[in-house]
């Protein structure tokens, strides 16, 4: 594991000691190299996990997430180059250090063996994200957004600390590898109800669950592009990953405790999809679409069947790449027109045809077109919820229709139609932007050829 952590840590001296015109090149290139080494993690042993040491391990659930995390850092750096042009070199280096620090914490979170270590790193990821949102965001509302983000997540996760310490006291160890085999059925009692809630709420807020999702549109819209990318792609998956790990300890309470949250997620999935149809702000639309996709993941994790876990894992990876790509596309729009309102920038297909191709691909993957991994994830979740309860197929079907509706609405509004006069002289797509989109799309399309690597431990 140190073979990932130490190079990531050393990215920081790399940026600080680089020459001013080489900071982007150095950091992007080296983080890309590190992301290639992450593929070594795929060499898993059968059912068991790859144990590096007592502190770090990775299994087929955390491997795809880790690869996604490390793949995303060069992409974030590429996407941020334009809006940081006018800043001083120290500020740029500071920004890159924040991203690297966040990357470090994320790697350690996904590979943590000890659950308290997981918790510490989970909380630690909040700090660089908050700094990125509030310092480099675009509008004055970003302070409010940062506050919402910080306090929602903190309040949700404080009970988790208490619960983890309680488990440590009663069981004696919080090492996940041991806990996997220790897991004893949790009897029904009021204190165990609170234990279940305390364990799960942190991740529910992070996912986010429909009733607790208020921080997400704010944080996503106000964050700079790198912040939006990492929030949508990785930080939401932290919640999913945590839920998948912690539910191992909470059986059989989950069978009945999960009902309210499943209901909330099923309802919320449709609600947030419908809100997307009424959005005028492009980034806000993509943020609500994230909530909708994550609601599917929550449902899948809470019903705890093998197929649903496979679907949840696949969906997390697919959504990470798709959402991140959509945010990059929205940002490329924003950098040219300085407005996030969709109707002010229309008909881009005639002006930027290649970017329109990326928009098309991203929208198609967002609406879960076969044979992409988005569809595989959604399909598995739909099938498993159908066998859990027949009625959910109506809701799921409705959700898929509305998802298709708003994805196509976004595509048609931004790309089709006659272009407005004031976008006549937008700059053509940069190679950097095209590279960014293709680096998002390539893994997504390649994974459709071999999706079993992202189907998680229950495959």
């Amino acid at each position: 594991m140190l073979k990932y952590i130490i190079p990531t840590m050393m990215l920081m001296p790399l940026t600080w000691l680089s020459k001013n015109n080489m900071i982007w090149i150095n950091s992007t290139l080296h983080s890309l190299l590190i992301s290639f080494t992450s593929l070594l993690l795929m060499n898993q042993f059968g059912d068991n996990s790859l144990n590096f040491s007592l502190t770090f391990f990775s299994d087929s659930l955390s491997t795809p997430l880790l690869i996604l995390t490390m793949w995303l850092l060069p992409l974030m750096l590429m996407a941020s180059q334009h809006h940081l042009l006018k800043e001083s070199p120290t500020r740029k280096k500071l920004f890159i250090s924040m991203l690297v620090l966040l990357q470090l914490f994320l790697i350690m979170t996904f590979t943590a063996t000890e659950l308290i270590f997981f918790y510490i790193m989970f909380e630690a990821t909040l700090v660089p994200t908050l700094i990125i949102i509030t310092r480099w965001g675009n509008q004055t509302e970003r302070l409010n957004a940062g506050l919402y983000f910080l306090f929602y997540t903190l309040t949700g996760s404080l009970p988790l600390l208490v619960a983890l310490i309680h488990i440590q006291n009663t069981v004696g160890s919080l090492n996940f590898l041991i806990l996997q085999y220790w897991a004893q059925p949790v009897p029904n009692s009021w204190s165990n109800v609170f234990l279940w809630l305390a364990c799960m709420m942190a991740f529910m807020v992070k996912m986010p669950l429909y009733g607790l999702h208020l921080w997400l549109p704010k944080a996503h819209v106000e964050a700079p592009i790198a912040g939006s990318m990492v929030l949508a792609a990785i930080l939401l998956k932290l919640g999913g990953y945590g839920m998948m790990r912690i539910t191992l300890l909470l059986n059989p309470m989950t069978d009945y405790m999960a009902y309210p949250f499943i209901m909330l997620s099923l309802w919320g999935m449709i609600m947030t999809s419908s809100i997307c149809l009424r959005q005028t702000d492009l980034k806000s639309l993509i943020a609500y679409s994230s909530v909708s996709h994550m609601a599917l993941v929550i449902v899948a994790i809470l019903i705890q069947t093998p197929w649903s876990y496979m679907g949840a894992t696949a969906l997390m990876i697919a959504h990470g790449l798709t959402s991140s790509m959509l945010f990059c596309l929205a940002n490329s729009n924003y950098e040219r027109i300085h407005s996030r309102t969709m109707i002010l920038a229309r008909g881009l297909q005639t002006l930027l045809p290649l970017m329109a191709a990326w928009w098309l691909l991203a929208s198609l993957t967002n609406l879960a077109l076969p044979p992409t991994i988005n569809l595989i994830g959604e399909l598995f979740v739909v099938m498993s919820t159908f066998s859990w309860s027949n009625i959910t197929i109506i809701l799921m079907g409705l959700n898929m229709v509305i998802t298709a509706l708003y994805s196509l609405y976004m595509l048609i509004t931004t790309q089709r139609g006659k272009h407005t006069h004031h976008i006549n002289n937008i700059l053509p797509s940069f190679t950097r932007e095209n590279a960014l989109m293709s680096l998002h799309m390539l893994p997504l399309l390649l994974l459709s050829l071999n999706p079993k690597i992202i189907l998680g431990p229950l495959y």
Partner: protein, 486 residues
């Protein structure tokens, strides 16, 4: 407790009066301090307005989708129609930047407030027709919940344009065009004129055209306030400040025929606060130039007209401020309540003002006697020498008038063809114009606002085709000339 202790200690010295009973509150002001601390703590909670930085509530926001420079009736009309024509509520953020919220020098409130359809360009007639319909139904267009309805004090007395022998043919042609567009205008011979309006001296008048419907005058201040109120309810931001700078970027592009052009786009608008050096850069996608008499200066800031003369880059916006006087006089023997707004072929005009035998009027000065637009001082000699003789010649009762007061206002005068400029600039691609109406801006404002909003949202004019009024005509030399201006 501290207060009591202090009181006990100082009791013998301050006879009768304790510390706490000092008139105006205690010198230590505990209650004030506690409430201040409470307010501060409350404002830190999420959902309240708090910023750890200094208070910037007087500054405009850091970004806005559309920035409208100029808060007169044209700017507010564009804002209104933008908010009305947007597909979903709250889609577009609009910021109206107005330098002077007392509107002391704005053309809107200093205007005579007339509305007529008697133009010679069909577009002008259509614009005025729609505006008349807007003003007629203003309480449906500008309704705000819980606010009283607007009373525009619309006097539908009509316009009476008089023509001499030379102008009679033009007038007939104009009336035909007006009738084609749907305006209700009637032509009168001098005899009919004398019968209908006995107080007119028809000497030298060959033909008169009288607007029968949708013409008259109204209160421009009421329209302005109604628009402001409605816009505030629709979520448009107002800010007081002066636009001092545009930050823009240029890119060289090639047209389909192969010639090189440099297209410019405005990224930021610097809005400077009053009486201070503080300014706020507002990042924007579109800028609307509705600055009225000062549109020329705003256009120059954006780089319109900086180039070799004779090219599109070198074509300036030919709008400049021209001062016009308006005189108010009292004449008990005057025409009375039935008087329309009468426009003499010599250029003088007058209308009734109120119900107390007062009349407003003036005359357009010729090119040589243009007053200096540096200030808004009134020249009463102009009335004595130019306006009164003409008025007295046309309406004999006006020989015994008494001037009560006068004021001066600016026309946003389009020196090219005295008609408005609407639509985007071909080279500064995100600046839209809504200015240059040379004295008939107020009456056409609602329709022009809609046209500009359609141009911004759809890319072409949908309801009224104002292509003759685009900026390109200044370069191509195609005048959209109107034949008489008041």
């Amino acid at each position: 407790m501290l207060r009591r202790a202090l009181r006990l200690r100082l009791g013998p010295c301050l006879s009768g009066r304790g510390l706490g009973t000092y008139r105006g509150g205690s010198t230590l002001d505990w209650d004030g301090k506690v409430s201040k601390i409470k307010k501060k703590i409350q404002s830190i909670f999420p959902g309240r307005a708090w910023s750890p930085l200094y208070d910037t509530s007087h500054l405009p926001p850091e970004r806005s989708d559309v920035v409208i420079v100029g808060g007169g009736v044209l700017g507010l009309s564009v804002a209104y129609w933008l908010k009305r024509l947007e597909k979903q509520q709250g889609a577009i953020q609009v910021l109206v930047v107005e330098r002077d919220h007392t509107y002391a020098r704005a053309s809107t409130v200093l205007s005579v407030g007339g509305i007529r359809q008697q133009f010679s360009l069909p577009e002008n007639v259509q614009l005025s027709l729609f505006s008349a319909e807007f003003l007629r139904n203003i309480n449906e267009y500008l309704a705000v919940v819980d606010d009283p309805p607007l009373d525009l004090q619309f006097n539908p007395s009509g316009y009476l344009l008089l023509a001499s022998e030379e102008g009679a043919a033009i007038m007939e042609r104009n009336v035909k065009i007006q009738r084609q567009e749907g305006a209700k205008v009637c032509l009168m011979s001098p005899e009919q004129l004398q019968k209908k309006f006995p107080w007119i001296n028809t000497e030298g008048v060959a033909l008169a055209s009288y607007g029968l419907e949708n013409e008259g005058w109204f209160d421009p201040w009421c329209l302005l306030q109604g628009l402001r109120r409605k816009l505030q309810s629709m979520g448009v931001l107002f800010c007081q400040g002066e636009v001092t700078r545009f930050i823009s970027s240029s890119s060289h592009m090639e047209t389909a025929s192969g010639e090189q052009v440099t297209l410019k786009r405005i990224h930021e608008v610097h809005v400077k606060m009053d009486h201070s050096q503080e300014f706020q850069p507002v990042e924007c996608a579109i800028v609307v130039n509705a600055a009225g008499a000062w549109s020329g200066q705003i256009a120059e800031l954006a780089g319109v007209g900086t180039g070799p003369p004779g090219t599109m880059q070198g074509t300036k916006l030919p709008v400049e401020p021209r001062k016009r006087y308006v005189y108010l006089w009292h004449c008990p023997q005057g025409p009375g309540l039935e008087a329309p707004l009468v426009a003499d072929p010599s250029g003088a005009y007058f209308r009734r003002e109120g119900l107390g035998n007062n009349y407003l009027g003036s005359c357009s000065p010729t090119e040589e006697e243009e007053p200096d637009p540096g200030n808004l001082e009134v020249d009463y000699d102009f009335f004595q020498e130019k306006v009164w003789p003409r008025l007295a010649q046309r309406v004999p009762a006006f020989e015994t008038l008494k001037v009560r007061s006068a004021w001066a206002g600016y026309y946003d005068y389009n020196t090219f063809d005295q008609n408005g400029v609407v639509g985007p600039h071909p080279l500064v691609i995100n600046m839209y114009f809504a200015t240059g109406f040379s004295g008939h801006g107020l009456q056409q404002a609602p329709a022009v606002g809609r046209a500009v909003a359609e141009m911004m949202l759809e890319g072409h004019f949908q309801t009224i085709n104002l292509s003759p009024f685009l900026f390109g005509r200044f370069y191509f030399g195609e005048k959209a000339q109107e034949h008489c201006i008041l």
